[in-house]
């Protein structure tokens, strides 16, 4: 059984909880529908976003240089990191040079991808995630299970217990308002003490060097404005040409992500505060190579809204951790194999290919098309197991020959009909564990047709 399938099965062991997970995320999907419905020309807006992103990718080097120039003019310091390790090193250097030790960070899937937290922790530097969901999983020492709702897999009872243990909150108080207030007090202190604030980046505007960060909690701003040093980490694909393009993306992002018309805070950082430092780190980590792969390039359009997760019937019922990659769900399944095709070869198969992900995607990434394409490419690369390889080879032969096909069908039907039930419904028959096989008809359609029509005029031999 593939890795995802195994982990999904484990998630489903607690069916009540899986059902809760499914329903909760479905609710978010419905909220997204209502919001999208409220925007005139929603589908055209998606198309516009897609074209802007495709254009940006086609001239990415120019826009990055333009962005860098503007940012430097504004007073920011720009760094480039070709790999995850380089990003971590640069951040570490900035911290060291300023003799800093207290770091806060708002949500950044990029630093998650690069493993920044463990890197700094190993060097004795404490880094506090300030998004409530991220703080919860940080205290719980777990990876996020969703890119927008990182702690969606955790129940309030567990959070209550965790906060009681770690933050001294009242035992047994599971009221979300109380728990959030506890976190507010705890993190307020961290903000005030922080010397360095790290953020991710939603958009970087080439024409004016602005870094745009969207949050609901205000944690990016609390960190950035409280700490003397601000560091923004962005993937190379985050740059868009014009300020006016931001309108398109800010209209789409929150509506797609959480079903809000816009995030509470849409912050534009252009220069450091008086006496402060502003660093921007531009990270590649495999992205520039991905640009060269035509079948997969479009995955770089992603704006990390998470809509594909909320709509995905598989994700909702298997939880983010079943994907065992930093970005779960449909988009994660097409990104993961780029970083390690062996480890993540099972992910493109963790889908029924229903295609809903591609329809909700605000930048129109053909996600299910890429999942299908990955299946072919990974199999070509030999990632298929020898057993599956054998099955496919034999099946290919059978389906390519009508004689073998007819004969195999007959045998299969005979087996289902006449073999004892224990033989058919064995351990290897994953279909039959919770499903009956179809009742076997007396004859196949072809047999019926040949009997009834062969002598007639319509024997198919046109």
């Amino acid at each position: 059984m593939t890795n995802h399938a195994y982990k999904a099965a484990r998630f489903l062991k607690n069916e009540e909880r899986a059902t809760w997970h499914d329903k909760t995320l479905w609710m978010v999907r419905k909220k997204r529908d209502l919001m999208a419905l409220d925007v005139p020309d929603w589908e055209e807006l998606r198309e516009q976003a897609s074209q802007i992103k495709r254009h940006s990718l086609s001239k990415l080097d120019d826009y990055l240089v333009q962005f860098e120039e503007q940012a430097i003019n504004n007073g920011a310091q720009v760094h480039w990191a070709s790999t995850a390790g380089k990003l971590n090193e640069i951040v570490y250097q900035i911290i060291k040079e300023n003799n800093a030790s207290r770091i806060v960070k708002s949500k950044s899937m990029l630093t998650e991808e690069c493993g920044l937290n463990p890197f700094l922790e190993k060097r004795g530097i404490e880094i506090i995630d300030t998004d409530l969901g991220e703080r919860i999983i940080q205290l719980k020492r777990e990876p996020p299970s969703h890119i927008v709702m990182p702690a969606i897999h955790i129940k309030k009872e567990e959070i209550s217990e965790l906060f009681h243990r770690e933050l001294n909150s009242e035992e047994g108080n599971t009221d979300p308002t109380y728990l959030a207030a506890t976190a507010r007090l705890h993190l307020r202190q961290k903000f005030l003490e922080a010397e360095v604030a790290i953020t991710g980046v939603n958009f970087a505007v080439a024409e004016n060097g602005a870094v745009v960060v969207c949050t609901n909690e205000g944690n990016a701003d609390m960190g950035v404005h409280a700490a003397p040093i601000q560091i923004h980490c962005m993937g190379i694909e985050k740059v868009i040409p014009r300020l006016s393009d931001l309108a398109v993306f800010t209209r789409l992002l929150a509506r797609s992500a959480t079903g809000q018309p816009i995030t509470t805070y849409t912050s534009h950082y252009l220069n450091p505060k008086p006496g402060g430092q502003m660093h921007i780190i531009i990270v590649d980590n495999g992205r520039s190579e991905l640009i060269g792969k035509e079948d997969y390039r479009d995955s770089l359009k992603c704006i990390r809204c998470g809509a594909c997760m909320n709509t995905c019937p598989v994700y909702r019922r298997s939880g983010g951790h079943s994907y065992h990659y930093v970005i779960p769900g449909p988009i994660g399944s097409i990104l993961a194999p780029h970083s390690n095709s062996k480890e993540f070869e099972n992910l493109p198969f963790a889908s029924s290919l229903c295609g809903s992900c591609s329809d909700v995607c605000p930048v129109k990434i053909n996600i299910h098309g890429q999942l299908y394409r990955w299946r072919q490419d990974l199999s070509q690369q030999g990632a298929r197991s020898p057993i599956k390889k054998g099955i496919m080879k034999v099946s290919g032969k059978i389906l390519a020959s009508d004689k073998m096909y007819d004969w195999s069908g007959k045998v299969a039907r005979w087996c289902i009909k006449y073999l004892p039930r224990v033989l058919i419904y064995n351990r290897l028959n994953t279909w039959g564990r919770e499903r009956e096989l179809p009742e076997v008809p007396r004859e196949s359609f072809k047999e019926w047709y040949n009997k009834n029509f062969r002598e007639g005029n319509k024997n198919g031999q046109k």
């Binding site: 059984m1 593939t2 399938a5 999904a8 099965a9 489903l12 069916e15 059902t19 499914d22 529908d33 925007v39 929603w42 589908e43 709509t311 019937p313 598989v314 019922r317 493109p348 198969f349 963790a350 889908s351 029924s352 290919l353 229903c354 295609g355 809903s356 329809d359 299908y372 299946r375 072919q376 199999s379 070509q380 599956k388 496919m392 099946s395 290919g396 389906l399 390519a400 020959s401 009508d402 096909y405 069908g409 039907r413 994953t430 279909w431 564990r433 499903r435 009956e436 179809p438 076997v440 008809p441 359609f445 072809k446 047709y449 040949n450 029509f453 319509k458 024997n459 198919g460 046109k462």
Partner: protein, 246 residues
């Protein structure tokens, strides 16, 4: 107009009644229907499992067998979608292009090509329509719930004309049933959970009959329902449309 009837492999082997209903219906509609008996399969089971390379021979056979017809009609949205969409990996000869263009799912063939929707059916039952994903999003047989465009559904259009029918509303009008081809075998737990959730939705809303354009979805749902002794009938859309007075 000469129609080539394509009966997908699992319908051929397990649901001949669906093939028969399709054939009878097309003939009642006055069409000249041919069933080339050297046909096997569209190749989708292989390609969806990542073995497109092993499926090419099957693709070529399909094209060779069916390219001579004006239209190729099949009671499966999924297989039709596969031919239309994924035969793009073949060299695009005239034959391949013709086959890709002229292969139709039964309902869309009736609505779009024959341009009719009243099949004079009596069907006094409460019916739950399962929108199979490939038909829905691939062939655009209806508007998926997540797209913000004017809503239509070719299947509903045909069914609504049936006398006495009550089409139930579902809580989730078009969520995937979890069949997904070999997904149902390699990811059995998720697949079954998705199926159970679909069945619950239909039950909550009072379906007596569940129908779909794809027997594969129904085979999966029926398999779960039978194991759990649920009381609901499964009929392929062709079986309902063929229960007519034409």
């Amino acid at each position: 107009m000469q129609i080539g009837l394509f009966i997908p492999c699992y319908i051929d082997q397990f649901y001949p009644k669906v093939g028969i209903a399709t054939l009878e219906l097309l003939e009642k509609l006055g069409l000249e229907v041919f069933y080339p008996s050297e046909q096997t399969c569209c190749g989708q089971p292989l390609a969806n499992s990542g073995a497109e390379d092993k499926a090419i021979k099957t693709y070529n056979n399909f094209v060779r067998i069916f390219s001579k017809f004006d239209y190729i009609v099949s009671p499966s949205g999924s297989c039709v979608y596969h031919v239309r969409e994924n035969y793009n990996v073949l060299p695009q000869t005239d034959e391949v292009r013709r086959v890709r263009q002229n292969t139709f799912e039964l309902c869309e063939f009736i609505v779009d090509i024959l341009k009719t929707d009243d099949l004079k059916i009596d069907f006094p039952h409460k019916v739950g329509v399962h929108q199979s994903c490939h038909g829905l999003r691939g062939l655009k047989l209806a508007t998926p719930s997540e797209l913000i465009v004017e809503h239509y559904s070719k299947v509903h259009r045909l069914l609504k004309k049936a006398k006495g029918i009550e089409i139930i509303n579902l809580d989730r009008e078009d969520e995937c049933c979890g069949f997904g081809g070999t997904f149902s075998i390699f990811q059995p737990d998720i697949s079954v959970k998705m199926g159970k959730d679909r069945l619950d939705d239909h039950r909550r809303n009072g379906a007596e009959v569940i129908t779909a354009t794809d027997m594969s979805c129904l085979m999966h749902l029926e398999g779960i329902a039978r194991r759990q002794n649920r009381e609901v009938r499964f009929l392929h859309i062709a079986e309902i449309l063929n229960s007519n007075r034409l």
